[in-house]
């Protein structure tokens, strides 16, 4: 494959590609996302390929293994086009029937979605409640792409944003567009990406870096891995556009070491992008040079913190630096480094190709665009969903999520993993919004939304989250290392019925000091789940002390 050396060549290539693809030709897409893979979707895919080979269907039927479709609860997932027919919980034994029906243009009724209450069937994706309430701008392409094939990405319009940026816009114009779009970081900070880009761009050093933070350490957030594994080119495209705007020559994709499929797909994407001339020198004849490396974490949460991550890329222990040393000015090897989350980068191509004005038409006043949410916990339909910012939580929990499992009632909703917070069920009409949710004490974080049912012990949840953080602390600063340990001890005693009078006050002091004095966000936000618990669930905590052995009279 010779390098594509201009916008014209790329568009010509794309047109030729599309001409060769028949939209009427049936295609069976088997999801190989993390959960489906864990349910052995590989066996399903293998069965399809074997059956298609036996029946000599090459040319009449396409079988494709894709990234995460999103409906993880009901996997292994299969989507048949044309028609976007959704089959759920597919087993290898279902394969011959699905192939036969597909070739005849028919549907296998027993494998489609059935409403748990009414039994009503929904065949097409646009009818399935889980999918129908979503706005799938980012994840919608996943069922159409085999991540090992860059051509699939071209076929859905991939790299059009890069073409537009490199060949018709100056770096300053690209930066201005991203600022105008008010794209806010999707990794947890919600910080305006455009501002960060600008600071990095304006830093005096010539050598600059851009980084994809694919670490995704937040517990119960799995959308970044789904995007990076399922559509790595979308993130890469965003990264190259960003590098062009910022003036960076090199990029790093930083992700976890424990996902072989993710590694395989990202390496393939980088290799194919290089082969096609989208990475390297003089990209698309623009004069812009850019290369990208893949780096792995080594199994600790704190290495998702941006300054710690940069230490890790340097080969050092991931000790964070105080935030007033801005990494956009002093990052990797003290060079200006712009770090953004996977989902943030994934938004960039569409902002450039469709424009900031289009982007700002979606979402709420200060939170624009869509957000990927990992819906899990005691929910009926767990998986990855995408909704516009401003969507009421009720839509996520009930319309899409199908409510609480096992017929129980909702007690609380938790956002932000171990550094987030829980809100009670009566706040269910709150809109999904960076600032609104922060004010309520449950910041969106990376977007992991957990449902907790009526049997959930809120003290145990707080203890569990503190235990997670204690293990992940780097140990450098006293308030985090010592303070969190003390909070954990108190919470553990509470869960064991050994609460003492004065425990809650002690916790409040520790939350305050740890929150203010810690070096990085890990320590600073470690007390946030507890803060939200005290705000909304204090009676549960107080009654735990009273009912403890040493409750009313001990020290």
């Amino acid at each position: 494959m010779p390098k594509l050396q201009s916008a014209a060549e790329l568009e010509k290539f794309r047109a030729e590609l599309l001409a060769k693809r028949d939209p009427a030709k049936p295609c069976i897409a088997v999801c190989a996302g993390a959960a489906c893979d864990g349910m052995d979707s590989a066996a399903v895919a293998a069965a399809f390929l074997a059956e298609a080979a036996t029946q000599k269907l090459d040319g009449k039927l396409e079988i494709r293994t894709t990234g995460c479709h999103g409906y993880c609860e009901k996997g292994p997932n299969v989507v048949v086009t044309p028609g976007d027919i959704c089959y759920f919980e597919v087993q290898p034994t279902d394969v011959p029937e699905i192939i036969a029906a597909t070739l005849k243009g028919e549907v296998v009724e027993r494998l489609v979605y059935k409403d748990p209450a009414t039994g009503a069937k929904a065949v097409h994706m646009s009818e399935v409640p889980f999918y129908k309430h979503q706005t799938r701008l980012l994840i919608g392409d996943n069922p159409k792409i085999d991540p090992m094939r860059i051509d699939d990405y071209f076929a859905v319009g991939g790299y059009a944003g890069l073409v537009k940026a490199l060949t018709t816009m100056t770096p300053e114009q690209v930066l201005a567009e991203v600022k105008k779009a008010n794209l806010r970081g999707r990794g947890g900070g919600g910080f305006p990406a455009g501002s960060k880009w600008e600071t990095t761009r304006n830093a005096p050093e010539k050598t600059k870096y851009v980084i994809v933070n694919g670490h995704e350490g937040e517990s119960a957030a799995f959308m970044d891995r789904a995007m990076l594994t399922g559509n790595p080119h979308k993130i890469l495209e965003g990264l190259i556009i960003g590098a062009y705007a910022i003036g960076a020559q090199k990029g790093f994709m930083y992700t976890r070491h424990d996902m072989p499929l993710l590694e395989k797909h990202v390496r393939q994407a980088l290799a194919q992008a290089t082969e096609y001339g989208l990475l390297g020198e003089n990209i698309l004849g623009s004069g812009f040079n850019f290369e990208c490396e893949l780096h792995f974490d080594v199994g600790i949460f704190v290495s998702g913190e941006s300054s710690a991550l940069m230490r890790s890329i340097e080969g050092n222990a991931p000790e964070p630096r105080p935030k007033y040393i801005r990494t956009s000015v002093n990052g990797i090897w003290d060079k200006p480094s712009n770090l953004n989350n996977v989902e943030t980068w994934a938004n960039v191509p569409q902002i450039i190709s469709k424009g900031a004005e289009w982007f700002t038409s979606i979402g709420s006043e200060k939170s624009k665009g869509t957000k990927l949410i990992s819906l899990s916990g005691n929910v009926v339909n767990s998986g990855i969903v995408e909704v516009p910012m401003g969507t009421p939580l009720r839509t996520l929990v009930f319309d899409i999520g199908g409510g609480v499992r096992d017929g129980k009632t909702l007690k609380a909703i938790h956002f932000g993993g171990a550094m987030g917070g829980s809100i009670p069920a009566d706040l269910i009409d709150a809109p999904l919004d960076f600032d609104g949710m922060s004010k309520l004490g449950a910041p969106i974080g990376a977007g992991g939304l957990l449902l907790m049912d009526e049997d959930t012990d809120m003290i145990e949840v707080a203890r569990y989250l503190m235990d997670f953080l204690v293990n992940e602390s780097c140990g450098k600063c006293v308030p985090c290392r010592e303070g969190m340990q003390q909070m954990l001890q108190i919470l553990t005693r509470l869960t064991e019925g050994q609460g003492r009078k004065g425990d809650l006050e002690l916790l409040e002091d520790l939350i305050e000091v740890t929150g203010v004095a810690s070096l990085c966000a890990l320590g600073k936000t470690s007390g946030d789940p507890l803060k939200s618990m005290f705000r909304y669930f204090k009676p549960e905590y107080e009654s735990r002390i009273v009912s403890s052995a040493g409750g009313s009279d001990n020290k």
């Binding site: 602390s473 600063c477 010592e482 969190m484 340990q485 002091d509 000091v513 070096l519």
Partner: protein
């Protein structure tokens, strides 16, 4: 070098660009407590005791003065209700490890810290990193390092290096605020290379034996 004017505790201070707030305060004779700080070492920002309140451009924040650079027109307060509370609680947390450290006792008195607020823990090390950083930055021997993470973080003497370097040096023993460094070295020696420390080169006269700094006796408390 450009001059920067800031306010510390109501006093106008003229500092040089590139100085930290701690350096500027020390220059004026204003005391800010520190624990993990040492003039010969790079600022670490680990103990957080030197935290001060800074008002800049209408925002109040809490920063570690050993790292935070001086800036024009900032207003620094080295004592306040919040700052004092931070120091008090941090000292209480540290005294769970080293209740008899003279430096901690002094600070406990100043900030009203209760040495028994938290349950005693088994380790005397307060992980200030002075020994590790001194051996790395000043002596450049790396005989002692950190291991593990979080609350499990410890200092560890590397026997292969310590047996050759430590006895002739012992400089980290004196800077350790809790005397743990010396104890850790001796324990490592006893377990890993008993009786095999590198001796000073033999001369005609027997050399003066190295003075081992005695561990401070427990202060008398009522």
């Amino acid at each position: 070098m450009t001059e920067i004017v800031l306010t510390i505790d109501g006093k106008e201070v003229k500092a040089k660009a590139g100085m930290t707030v701690l350096q500027a305060a020390q220059q004026e004779g204003i005391h800010i407590p520190t624990l993990c700080h040492h003039e010969k070492l790079e600022a670490f920002g680990g103990c957080r005791l030197c935290m001060v309140e800074v008002e800049a451009r209408g925002w109040t924040s809490y920063v570690v003065s050993c790292v935070y650079p001086v800036a024009k027109d900032i207003v620094v307060r080295t004592r306040s209700e919040k700052v004092d509370k931070i120091r008090k609680v941090l000292v209480e947390e540290l005294m769970a490890h080293a209740p008899d450290s003279p430096e901690l006792i002094r600070m406990a008195e100043e900030y009203g810290a209760d040495r028994d607020r938290f349950e005693r823990s088994a380790s005397f090390c307060i992980v200030c990193g002075l020994c590790v950083r001194y051996c790395n930055e000043v002596k450049q021997k790396n005989a002692v390092g950190f291991i593990d993470n979080g609350a499990r973080r410890e200092i560890s003497f590397i026997p292969e290096v310590a047996r050759k370097e430590c006895w002739d040096c012992q400089e980290c023993f004196a800077i350790c605020p809790t005397s743990y460094a010396q104890a850790a070295y001796l324990l490592t020696e006893a377990l890993a290379f008993p009786g095999q420390r590198k001796e000073a080169v033999k001369v005609k006269k027997a050399p003066k034996p190295k003075r081992v700094i005695p561990i401070m006796p427990a202060p008398v408390t009522t």
